[in-house]
């Protein structure tokens, strides 16, 4: 391993650690806008990680996905969500979380779990980014935990997008990036999903007069009870 490779490895490890930290922070945030801020930070960090991996491996394809990530996940999606939040007048809303202590304990357990299952297989890889596989797994599961614990539609969607971010991190962190065609396809799907989500927010608002998931699901249950 040359010196610059070792240095790149350290930078990537550092970014992996930061990604994990952001996943934890997203889980612990109460305020709508701070959730969004951390989410945007995650996107930017991802783009930076992709660029570093691209630089250290010399793969030009990765530069393109780094650029795509920067534009889509670092700027466009947070901006869209910010617009939606402003338009729906929910930017000041504070979301009651599940008991944050218990959430944190679960989160730590999830992290340990992913470390436990992924550690044995990291040995098989020769990539310099192999170490981040366990962290990526943890981030995926933590973002899912965020989706589960959230009560509002918008934060749930940010959780969904955070899962996608973590998956992207897994792809660049663990495998130096999926082939570009697949990457573009995934980015396209995420964009479409975000657009649909945006559409949904307004429908939900108009229909239910609230962004609470429980209100929404109760309409299904109520319908069932009527019958």
């Amino acid at each position: 391993m040359t010196f610059s490779q070792q240095f790149a490895q350290q930078i990537i490890d550092g970014m992996a650690a930061l990604t994990l930290l952001i996943s934890f922070s997203l889980l612990a945030q109460h305020r709508m806008l701070s959730v969004l801020r951390w989410f945007a930070g995650q996107g930017l960090l991802l783009a930076a990680t992709a660029a570093v991996v691209a630089y250290s491996t010399g793969e030009t394809e990765l530069y393109i996905s780094a650029m795509m990530t920067f534009l889509l996940k670092g700027l466009l999606l947070p901006w869209m969500l910010w617009r939606v939040i402003r338009k729906l007048h929910v930017h000041r809303e504070v979301e009651p979380l599940m008991n944050s202590g218990i959430t944190m304990v679960i989160a730590v357990a999830v992290t340990l779990f992913s470390f436990h299952i992924i550690q044995p297989i990291e040995v098989t890889s020769e990539l310099l980014t192999r170490n981040s596989m366990a962290i990526a797994t943890a981030c995926v599961l933590l973002s899912m935990l965020m989706m589960i614990t959230r009560k509002k539609a918008i934060t749930q969607v940010i959780g969904f997008l955070a899962v996608e971010n973590s998956l992207f991190f897994a792809a660049i962190g663990a495998t130096n990036g999926m082939p570009l065609v697949v990457e573009i396809g995934i980015a396209f799907d995420v964009l479409i999903a975000a657009l649909i989500f945006g559409l949904f927010f307004f429908q939900i608002r108009n229909t239910f007069d609230s962004m609470e998931i429980d209100t929404m699901q109760s309409s299904l249950i109520q319908k069932d009870d009527d019958e």
């Binding site: 650690a17 944050s100 470390f115 170490n131």
Partner: protein, 315 residues
């Protein structure tokens, strides 16, 4: 022989410097707030004055109340004297175990809380209960953050840990960064600074540390104040030792020791200026938010531990 001398010097310096440190922080704070401040020597003058004053004891005070200041002071000074500040390898360094250090501080805190409850006033009891609650949360976090470093060094002995840090090549180690942040957060709780506790407050309801000292006077109060100053310096030195030990002297020669002293003071000044800036720019946390703050510190330290295994232990 000379190493014993330097060991003594180290301990004396720690104890003597401590009030100066308090003065330094409050002077920097005053300057930041466009005040002149009382000067660096003010805490020394306060302590001196208190020693000359008569001790007033409450009627209900038991021997614990009178005994506690000496125990607290001794425990803190003992802890401070084993922490290497100038010389790495001293005669006492074998005892400089981090867990023992935490235990010594816990002993001091135990007596402090007992004394707070001993008089039976409402504020003393309240302060003691808060202190115990927070320390119950802070101590695991502190140990966790120290373990991140201890695992790398395969030892909880401070000297070994410092030597390990000095001898490993400079790497970007995210786990250590996490541990450092956690440690700083804990240090603020342990030393009772803003945003957890305000050492200069006069509002009894928001007090933690001060509430337990309300009934003290004279030399008892002086010892207590001095001990808490030593504790502040102790934590600063501990952070320097654990995370930025470069500059500490490896051998007991006069030149290197003098150099180490200067570097140590410089590092302390940087740290305390940061503390002063933080205290000036931050508001105190509401009491019920402190457990969350400590929880965050614990999670950070724990993440540091996990990340150490995930990223830094060679597979």
């Amino acid at each position: 022989m000379s190493s014993i001398f330097f060991q003594l010097l180290q301990a004396v310096l720690m104890v003597m410097f401590a009030p100066l440190v308090l003065g330094f922080v409050s002077t920097v704070k005053a300057r930041l707030q466009n005040r002149r401040g009382a000067g660096i020597m003010q805490p020394w003058r306060d302590i001196q004055k208190l020693f000359n004053k008569e001790v007033v004891l409450a009627d209900h005070a038991s021997w614990i109340f009178r005994f506690a200041p000496y125990v607290v002071f001794t425990a803190t000074v003992m802890a401070a004297s084993v922490v290497p500040s100038l010389l790495l390898d001293t005669p006492l360094s074998l005892t400089a175990d981090v867990i023992a250090l935490v235990a010594l501080l816990a002993l001091g805190r135990f007596f402090l809380s007992l004394a707070g409850m001993d008089i039976g006033t409402a504020f003393g009891g309240m302060g003691a209960s808060r202190e115990m609650t927070f320390s119950a949360l802070a101590e695991p976090a502190m140990l966790m953050s120290i373990f991140v470093l201890a695992i790398g060094a395969h030892s909880t002995n401070l000297t070994t840990m410092i030597a390990h840090t000095l001898h490993t090549p400079l790497l970007i180690q995210p786990s250590i960064a996490f541990a450092l942040v956690a440690m700083l957060m804990i240090a603020i709780v342990e030393t009772g600074r803003i945003p957890i506790d305000n050492p200069s407050t006069h509002l009894e309801l928001t007090m933690i540390h001060e509430a337990m000292l309300l009934e003290y006077s004279g030399r008892h109060l002086a010892l207590m104040e001095w001990a808490s100053a030593v504790k502040l310096l102790l934590f600063a030195t501990l952070i320097i030792d654990l995370f930025f030990p470069w500059g500490i002297s490896g051998d007991a020669s006069l030149v290197t020791i003098a150099l180490a002293l200067m570097i140590w003071i410089a590092k302390l000044m940087v740290l305390f200026v940061i503390l002063a800036v933080m205290e000036t720019s931050m508001a105190k946390l509401r009491m019920f938010e402190v457990p969350q703050y400590l929880g965050a510190a614990f999670v950070l330290a724990f993440l540091g531990l996990i990340i150490h295994y995930m990223l830094e232990v060679a597979v």
